[in-house]
Amino acid sequence: MLQRHNTPAGNNSVRIYARTFLLLLALLAFPFRDALRAEDEHEDSSPLSFTLRARGEAEWIDLRDSRLNPENVLGRYDNRYEGFLLGTIDYKGVDGYFSGEFRAGYEYLSGEMHEGTSFDDNEATLEINQLYYRTAARNIEVLLGRKKVRWGVGYAYSPTDLVTRQKNPEDPADRLSKVRGADLVGVSRLSESSQLDVLYFPELNWDFEDDFVTMNRFGMRWYRFVDPFDLSLVGSVNDDGDWTAGVNTSFTVGTSLELHAEYAYTSYNPRNDFLNRLDPDHPLYAYPAGPDDGVHDILIGGQYTFENNLNLVVEYMYRGGGYESDQLDSYIEAAGLWMNSGALSTSEMAGIVNGADQDALNAAAPLRSNYLFAGIFHPEVIRSVSLDLYSYLGLEDGSGFIVVMPTYKQSDSIDIYLRLKQFWGDSDTEFGLVPDDFSCVAGISWFLGS
């Protein structure tokens, strides 16, 4: 059973601040209500607009005997069939603007256990990725609802994205539209060359079991454009007193080169945060811990566009929460012991495997510290075919993965693509622990209209 890390005094003061913030927000918004008319009446425009897109994928995965999943003892799928509809809706009214993004999907998974037993699973989902209301008057904006908020400037990963889930090196463009916005209330003040955002973005329990607000969180971003630099200072704090502060910048050099950098300091280690939430008698409590102090995250990168429109992106990432070599060895050994001891259920073991998988791909709590991302994009390598190619490399152990994705633009509405992904690394390396070896995805994206 997981326990929350509780500081009652801290909870009360943050709740007071949250309620005061909401009250001030209401008082601030009300006087502007009569002034919140459309700045101009747009001819030939409807207040309501929507789009609908369908996407389908079939994936075949070649598994390997990872140390965390020998002979697929955990029953990981090797076939995936997925289809979803993504809809957006925008409505201008009530002196403001409503926007929503909805995802309705169906996924079918199948695979084979080590003893030859087949299994399958399926799931239908309906997700509200975004649904928010925004209103503005003069230089003040007010925002309420669920919205994706991106403060970072990195391509594959952004340590200064403090509000919405961080970017994913395995799928930087979020092709499956799985990134969900944060539930928030915010106010922004804009000037000619700067913007200040203050957000309240709590963790909410939409199952309505126990408390609806499970964690209070505040975030702030101050942005300023100082020609030619974009500069942002960001920060966040939660109920537990955990905080993050960071800075990012980007600028261009000449006609072809763009450079960007981010730095963030987090007062806790995300990997240890997981451990601190466990009961001492939980089997995973002996999980090897990373550094106890706060962690530093750094991103330095750039993109260069050649005259033939080829675009190259290179980023270096330092993740302070990662393991040292000896800690990683302990982690692998401990995981192996757990696998063989029978002390854990299949789902708990799958959690370890998925933890390694998600660590490697989603960059939430990485296993190591130094990574290199490189990507190439060309909008038309041959007629009607674009190409995405990118790779993620762990610099300590040389393991990583590469993705190649040619896309054929069959028409203005239909894209057909192939996505090939290959992991590499020895069995005691970060990406060598991931149970997947090679995967092939055939997909189609169809813009149904608006």
């Binding site: 789009t51 503005a136 908020v149 991106r150 804009l190 006609t255 509405s413």
Partner: protein
């Protein structure tokens, strides 16, 4: 006596110098552009090269703040394709372009502030810093739609005269050689033909840094709007893509004072309801 001598002296000087400053102009063949040596000029324009360029700029961006529709028409896979944008221009140096068509790009935006460009993809909710070399579509670059002011980006020099022909029309033009003042200008160099009496731009040939001829722009249509003449159509020939042709057509031009927050990168995720229509 002294004054008479001085006046006689300056008269002699004038009579000697004046004929030497006269220049002869030779006509050009209609479909070619030659740059003549300086001593072959017969008529010196009343304005300097930079003044001519400023006059030409006024035909592309007559007002400090305005909005317009821009339709980019080009051939794609043998079919005529149209992309539509709404352009917001502020203080001559800031532009916001919102994508209207095709539908799957609707809501994307391009922001230019001085030499700085950002591209916003509606789906990602994040504006990205981009470089001027990145292309729009067809034969057009981002700068063709956002940077309507040559004077701020290029150094100009008057190098000759030319007759520009397009379709059934022909114009006598001054020829300006433009060199980029900074590496952020859309093109490295331009040979610009400006109609003599009206200072209306008629043709621009743009070159890459390597000296390679990149494309030719013909400014083929103008309209009187609010008492001012403005360019409303550009026809492109892309020499890097087998001389493919495309056109940019401007319409629904409206004078409008625009708020500063339209031209701030961080506000792009919030502008959909105001600039996409």
């Amino acid at each position: 006596m002294h004054k008479t001598f001085v006046r006689f002296f300056f008269l002699i000087v004038f009579l000697v110098v004046a004929p030497a400053s006269g220049q002869t102009v030779y006509g050009q063949s209609p479909d070619s552009l030659k740059v003549l040596p300086e001593d072959e000029f017969a008529v010196i324009p009343a304005l300097s090269a930079s003044a001519i360029l400023r006059q030409a700029d006024m035909k592309r961006s007559p007002w400090s703040d305005f909005t317009m529709l821009a339709d980019l028409v080009y051939q794609k896979r043998g079919e005529r394709t149209t992309e539509r944008f709404r352009v917001f221009v502020h203080e001559h140096t800031k532009s916001l372009v919102s994508y209207l068509e095709p539908d799957k790009q609707r809501g994307n935006m391009l922001l230019m502030v001085g030499d700085n460009l950002w591209y916003y993809v509606n789906k990602t909710s994040r504006p990205m810093r981009i470089t001027p070399i990145q292309k729009l579509s067809g034969g057009a670059s981002y700068g063709d739609i956002t940077r309507l002011n040559w004077s701020g980006d290029y150094r100009s020099e008057l190098v000759g005269q030319d007759s520009v022909d397009f379709s059934d029309a022909s114009w006598d033009c001054w020829v300006l050689q433009l060199q980029a003042l900074s590496s952020s200008a859309t093109y490295h160099s331009i040979v610009l033909s400006v109609e003599k009496n009206t200072f209306v731009p008629r043709k621009a040939v743009v070159y890459l840094r390597s000296g390679k001829k990149m494309k030719t722009l013909f400014f083929t249509q103008y309209q009187i709007i609010g008492g001012k003449m403005m360019n409303t159509r550009i026809d492109f020939i892309d020499h890097l893509s087998a001389d493919s042709q495309s056109s940019m057509i401007f319409s629904k031009i409206s004078l409008k004072t625009l708020p500063d927050r339209y031209f701030l990168k961080t506000s792009l995720p919030s502008l959909y309801g105001e600039v996409v229509y």
